[in-house]
Symmetry: D2
Subunit: 146 residues, 4 copies
Amino acid sequence: MSYEIADDGFEERIRESFGEQKVMSTLGATLDGVEPGAVRIRMPFNDAFTQQDGFLHAGVVATLLDSACGYAAMSLLPRGGRVLAVEFKLNLCAPAIGEEFLAWGTVKRAGRTLTVTTGELFAVENDERKLVAAMQGTIFNLQTNQ
Amino acid sequence: MSYEIADDGFEERIRESFGEQKVMSTLGATLDGVEPGAVRIRMPFNDAFTQQDGFLHAGVVATLLDSACGYAAMSLLPRGGRVLAVEFKLNLCAPAIGEEFLAWGTVKRAGRTLTVTTGELFAVENDERKLVAAMQGTIFNLQTNQ
Amino acid sequence: MSYEIADDGFEERIRESFGEQKVMSTLGATLDGVEPGAVRIRMPFNDAFTQQDGFLHAGVVATLLDSACGYAAMSLLPRGGRVLAVEFKLNLCAPAIGEEFLAWGTVKRAGRTLTVTTGELFAVENDERKLVAAMQGTIFNLQTNQ
Amino acid sequence: MSYEIADDGFEERIRESFGEQKVMSTLGATLDGVEPGAVRIRMPFNDAFTQQDGFLHAGVVATLLDSACGYAAMSLLPRGGRVLAVEFKLNLCAPAIGEEFLAWGTVKRAGRTLTVTTGELFAVENDERKLVAAMQGTIFNLQTNQ
């Protein structure tokens, strides 16, 4: 898919907003890649965020994917554009266990008011990737005057 | 709705499992109410889990609701019954801001293998409740020999 | 839940729009009840819309619920207000088999641009109702000048 | 993605089941392509299945995609394997208007009991394709003795 870029400074805007998401530093998550229409977030395994079986909690999986999807949507907005999650749906495909996790968010369809996104989270163990979860969601585009 | 209870010891089983979800103590979340087919989790506001606008991150909202829904499903299982999230869908209705948050999980339809659940998360501020998010999801019932 | 009514003529507007949904007359569906924030659609069983096991197809269940939810949202809009489905999620709880089906759509949270709705479809057989499916979705509110 | 094929006769089984879905012949839909893990259904535009603006109703879009996703899951099952929709989520990306519609269902992750699928529906007009909707859903795999 190819995307129309409305603002060349999108990466800087995204990195600034990511820095303001305190939950990301609490999780130890970092912004691992920013492209037009696609954003990747990385998080090392951390026992503090597990459920009863020692897997990363599904809600934490959702946290990483929702931010990745939101920033993917934001990458295509004009300057001053901000994003809010409207809704998302998460399917769990395999236990979230591994050395680290990679969450990809991608724009499926960029609209004026709403952006449809999809995301995939992979667990990495011994350089092998396994699909853990898939997300499909809607992002609201807020236009702010600068 | 009325539910069929398969094991009178359901509350004890749920409290034990909740205690094993490390993410719950990390969030400062507590099990606030356990009934057949309905579970409530409470979490005080905590700046460490916010997104860029200072609201609780939608993924953290999902974390509380997913656990509440999973334990609601577990409350109706026989002894040794365990649960896994298959999928969930979250609609955000209002910013997640308040002194504390209450996540209710409820069983919509209890099946042998799959349980359909719904959840609502409220923000509490000055004794007033505001609906923040609604979840609808599917829980897989694992039967374990005792 | 209580709702704010923006236009007393909502039922007339909804009945007019429903009459323009050709799929509804094709399905033999009728508008069974219209209240502020809640709409009910009825459809008798019809073999022409079944899947391989003779149950009403899940997509037909979605059709009835999506219209019921959309009109529930429309009931709270001012004159000239129209609706479009943004997304919906459907959980199937039991086979869609019975003499007739009742689809309820309800407003969960009415916003300016987006309305969150929930819906339930019941199968009726010998005066007994059985829950077949649950929907949670988002409706876009279009304001039209009159 | 590559898939493991459990039964070489999958296409015959799918064509037989599709023939039993009366809703498909009612819609004028045909099975347009069957591969391991991917199924395509085609439907010409038909005024009888439209909503109030003359677009194909979102529930009809869901009907085509749900069947495409279900048969994609069925393509990887052993002989005697059957499928039931557990749940699906549909995002509408553009009005469903065109000469014909193509619904693709694809297996995202094949499990023993549950299969996660994704689907895309395109409208075709003057040989151009436009993405109309995206689905993400869960299929239950039923094993039947023969």
